[in-house]
C-alpha cells in the first residue's frame, strides 16, 4: 500500500544502519511515455553496472513528470521536447535538458494497402486545419504521381491528451503553415478543430488502423509495431524522405532542428535539476546520466541505415558532446558532481 513511502522509509532506515560505505541510493523519475521501453532497458542494464543505485521510472507523460519534479515527488523528469519557459517557472529551480536518444514521429495512414505515400509538411498542416479533406485532393495527387489514391475523405487523428508527439508534430509543421500556427498552436497543448482525438499512442494507432482514410501522427516505433505504413515527408530540399535511421540521425546533428533529413525527428530529454542537496544522490544521478549518454548509447546502435527507425536512435556526436557538457553543470553545494574532461 505505502509502496513508495515504505520503500523510502526502509531505504532511509537501512541506510542509517549500514552506514555510508555501502549505501543503497534510490532515485525516482517520471515523464515521457515514448522512450519508456528504452529507459526500462537502460535501468535494467545500469542495475548491473551499479547495483547500489536503484532507479525507478514512471511513464505518465512529459507534463506529469514536470509537475512531479516541481513538487519534489521525483528526482528527475523526462520530456520529449525541450521544456518551455513557463515550465521552467513552474519548476522554480534550475534544470538541464539532457538529450538521451533520438526519436522520430511518423505520419501513419490507412489507405487499404496503398504504401509509399508522400506528404509534405505543408500538406500535412493543411489536412490538420481542415483545408484538405479528401485523399484525391490536387495537392496530394501532385506529390504522389505514381500512386492510385482511393476516393476517401481524410480522417485526421490527433492526440486528445497532448503529449510529446503533438508538440513535435506541431512545431515542425508550424514553419510551413500560418494557418496551423494561428488555429492550432504549437506545443503539447495544441488543439485541433478537425479530426478525432485519441488517447495515447495506442489510441492513435487503433483509430488509424480501424478507419479507412485515416491519418495520424505517432512515434514510428508504434506505427511499425502495428503494421501501419508511414509516409515520406519533405526534406526541405525538394525531396521526400522516409523515417529511416540515416534520415532521422541526419536531422538531429545540432540542437536546433535543421533542414535536412526526416523533419519529424527530435532528441528526447531527461530533465535533471542542477543543484542537489544530497551529494550522494546527486553524484548517483550524474553518473547514471553520464552512463546513459556514453556507454548506454551502444544498446541503441544496430540496424541498417536504410531501415525504418524501429527503435530509439543513438545521439549523434555533436549532441552527445553537448549532453556531456551539460552534465558538468550539476553541482552539490559548491562542488561539481562530475569531473568532465
Amino acid at each position: 500500500m505505502f509502496e513508495l513511502t515504505r520503500r523510502r522509509l526502509l531505504v532511509a532506515a537501512s541506510t542509517g544502519l549500514i552506514g555510508a560505505c555501502s549505501r543503497t541510493i534510490e532515485l525516482f523519475g517520471s515523464g515521457a511515455t515514448l522512450p519508456a521501453q528504452q529507459y526500462a532497458a537502460w535501468l535494467a542494464a545500469y542495475a548491473v553496472e551499479a547495483p547500489q543505485v536503484r532507479i525507478a521510472y514512471l511513464p505518465i507523460g512529459s507534463g506529469g513528470g514536470i509537475r512531479q519534479l516541481a513538487h519534489g515527488t521525483v528526482d528527475f523528469g523526462a520530456s520529449d521536447v525541450e521544456i518551455d519557459p513557463s515550465e521552467r517557472t513552474l519548476l522554480a529551480r534550475e534544470v538541464i535538458s539532457l538529450p538521451t536518444a533520438i526519436i522520430a514521429v511518423g505520419v501513419c495512414y490507412n489507405l487499404g494497402g496503398v504504401e509509399g505515400l508522400r506528404l509534405s509538411r505543408r500538406v500535412c498542416a493543411a489536412i490538420y486545419v481542415g483545408e484538405i479533406t479528401s485523399w484525391r485532393d490536387a495537392a496530394i495527387l501532385a506529390e504522389n504521381p505514381g500512386i492510385n489514391l482511393p476516393n476517401l475523405p481524410i480522417a485526421p487523428v490527433f492526440r486528445a491528451d497532448g503529449g510529446g508527439s503533438t508538440a513535435l508534430f506541431t512545431s515542425r509543421l508550424a514553419s510551413e503553415s500560418s494557418a496551423l500556427r494561428e488555429r492550432v498552436g504549437v506545443g503539447r497543448g495544441a488543439r485541433f478543430s478537425v479530426g478525432i482525438g485519441a488517447r495515447g499512442s495506442d489510441g492513435v494507432v487503433d483509430l488509424v488502423a480501424n478507419i479507412p482514410g485515416a491519418v495520424g501522427y505517432v512515434e514510428v516505433v508504434h506505427a511499425l509495431r502495428a503494421g501501419l505504413p508511414v509516409a515520406a515527408l519533405d526534406d526541405g530540399h525538394g525531396g521526400f524522405v522516409a523515417p529511416t535511421r540515416a534520415a532521422v540521425l541526419v536531422a538531429c546533428q545540432a540542437r536546433e532542428p535543421i533542414e535536412r533529413g526526416y523533419p519529424l525527428s527530435s532528441p528526447t530529454y531527461l530533465v535533471v535539476p542542477k543543484k542537489w542537496s544530497d551529494p550522494a544522490k546527486g553524484a548517483a544521478m550524474a553518473r547514471f546520466s553520464y552512463w546513459v549518454v556514453t556507454a548506454g548509447q551502444a544498446s541503441l546502435d544496430g540496424g541498417a541505415a536504410e531501415e525504418l527507425a524501429a527503435s530509439l536512435l543513438p545521439l549523434p556526436a555533436p549532441l552527445a558532446a553537448f549532453a556531456r557538457a551539460e552534465l558538468g553543470q550539476l553541482t552539490s553545494g559548491a562542488t561539481r558532481l562530475l569531473a568532465i574532461d
Binding site: 505518465i60 507523460g61 512529459s62 507534463g63 506529469g64 514536470i66 509537475r67 516541481a70 513557463s86 515550465e87 513552474l90 475523405p153 480522417a155 486528445a160 491528451d161 497532448g162 503529449g163 506541431t170 492550432v184 498552436g185 504549437v186 506545443g187 503539447r188 497543448g189 495544441a190 488543439r191 485541433f192 478543430s193 478537425v194 479530426g195 478525432i196 482525438g197 485519441a198 488517447r199 480501424n210 478507419i211
Partner: protein
C-alpha cells in the same frame, strides 16, 4: 401502549454521560469521523478554488475556445458538451426507465417481476469502464455503419455526442427503473383498485392515477439520473472523441467537462491550464451537489438513496 418510534430522549441519554474513558473516546472519534465528510468537502472546494483564484485570468474562462498552446482556456465548449449529452441521455432514459418500472411494478407477473428486478440491479452495478468498452468496440462502429447506411458520413466515425448520450442512457436507465419501481410499489393499492372499480383499464389507471401520484418521486429519480449523467466520466471519455467544440454537432467528435479532465489533468503544467481544469472540476462538483440536493428536496423523506 403505543410509543412513537424515535430514539430515546436526548437529554436522558446525556444525563447518562459518565466520565468514563471509553465513552469519551467514542465521543471524540464520533465527532472526528462524523465531520470527516463535511471537512473533506470544504477542503476539496477550498483546494480547487484556491488554484482557480491564484492562477486564473479573470473572464478568460468564459471565452469560447479551448487551446492551451495558444493560451485560450474557454470552458464553454465543455459545458455545452456535458449539458447536451446529459440532456439527450435523460430524454432517452427517463421514458424507458419509467416504462420498465411500470412493467415490473404493474404489468408483469410477480415471479417475472422479481427476476426482472434482480436483473435490473445486476445491470445497474455494471462498472462504467465495461459500458465504455462496449461503447467503443461495438456501439461506435455500429453507429458509423448505420450512418453510412442512411447516406451520411459522420466526421467522427461513430464517436461523438450520439455515442456518449447512448452510453449514458444505458447506464442511467437501470437506476431510474429501480428507483421508479420502488416508488410505484409504495403507492397504496386503493389507487389501483379505485379506478378499476370505476371501469378504467389498467393503462388508463397507470397514466391518469398512478404516474401523477408518483410524480414527485419520479422527478426525484430523474434528478438522480441527471446528476449521474452529468458526472459520468469514464464511459463518456471513451466514446466522445476528445475534440471540444462550442456547438456540438451530431456526427462530429465532441468533449465534455469530465472527458477533458481525464485527458488533460495529468499532462497540464501551465498554471492557467491547471486553474481552468480546477474550475471545471468545481463545476462538476456543483452540478453533482445541486442535482443531488434537488433529488433530496423532491423525495423529501422517502428513502431515495441509490
Amino acid at each position: 401502549m403505543s410509543r412513537p418510534s424515535h430514539p430515546p430522549d436526548v437529554s436522558a441519554a446525556r444525563l447518562q454521560r459518565s466520565i468514563n474513558l471509553p465513552d469519551r473516546a467514542l465521543s471524540l472519534f464520533g465527532n472526528v469521523f462524523g465531520f470527516v465528510a463535511p471537512v473533506v468537502v470544504l477542503a476539496i472546494i477550498a483546494n480547487l478554488a484556491s488554484v482557480v483564484i491564484a492562477d486564473a485570468e479573470g473572464s478568460a474562462f468564459l471565452s469560447t475556445s479551448w487551446n492551451p498552446a495558444r493560451g485560450h482556456f474557454g470552458v464553454l465548449p465543455f459545458l455545452m458538451g456535458t449539458v447536451v449529452t446529459a440532456t439527450v441521455a435523460m430524454a432517452i432514459a427517463l421514458p424507458i426507465g419509467v416504462l420498465a418500472a411500470v412493467y415490473l411494478a404493474e404489468v408483469a407477473a410477480p415471479k417475472v417481476a422479481r427476476v426482472g428486478a434482480v436483473l435490473l440491479e445486476l445491470v445497474a452495478a455494471t462498472p462504467a469502464v465495461v459500458v465504455g468498452l462496449w461503447g467503443r468496440s461495438v456501439l461506435v462502429p455500429e453507429l458509423n455503419d448505420l450512418s453510412r447506411l442512411v447516406g451520411s458520413a459522420p466526421e467522427g466515425h461513430g464517436f461523438g455526442i450520439v455515442a456518449a448520450s447512448l452510453v449514458l442512457a444505458t447506464m442511467t436507465i437501470p437506476t431510474i427503473a429501480t428507483v421508479s419501481r420502488a416508488i410505484l410499489r409504495a403507492l397504496p393499492n386503493e389507487l389501483r383498485e379505485g379506478p378499476m372499480a370505476l371501469g378504467a383499464t389498467q393503462w388508463e389507471t397507470i397514466r391518469s392515477v398512478l404516474l401523477p401520484s408518483a410524480r414527485r418521486g419520479l422527478l426525484a429519480a430523474a434528478a438522480l439520473g441527471f446528476g449521474r449523467a452529468l458526472g459520468e466520466t469514464i464511459a463518456v471519455s471513451m466514446v466522445i472523441g476528445g475534440r471540444p467544440s462550442l456547438l456540438p454537432s451530431w456526427g462530429a467528435p465532441s468533449a465534455t467537462v469530465s472527458s477533458v479532465l481525464v485527458d488533460e489533468v495529468l499532462d497540464a503544467t501551465h498554471p492557467n491550464h491547471i486553474a481552468a481544469l480546477a474550475a471545471l472540476a468545481l463545476v462538476l462538483l456543483v452540478f453533482g451537489a445541486l442535482t443531488s440536493a434537488g433529488a433530496r428536496v423532491l423525495s423529501r423523506g422517502d428513502a431515495v438513496r441509490a
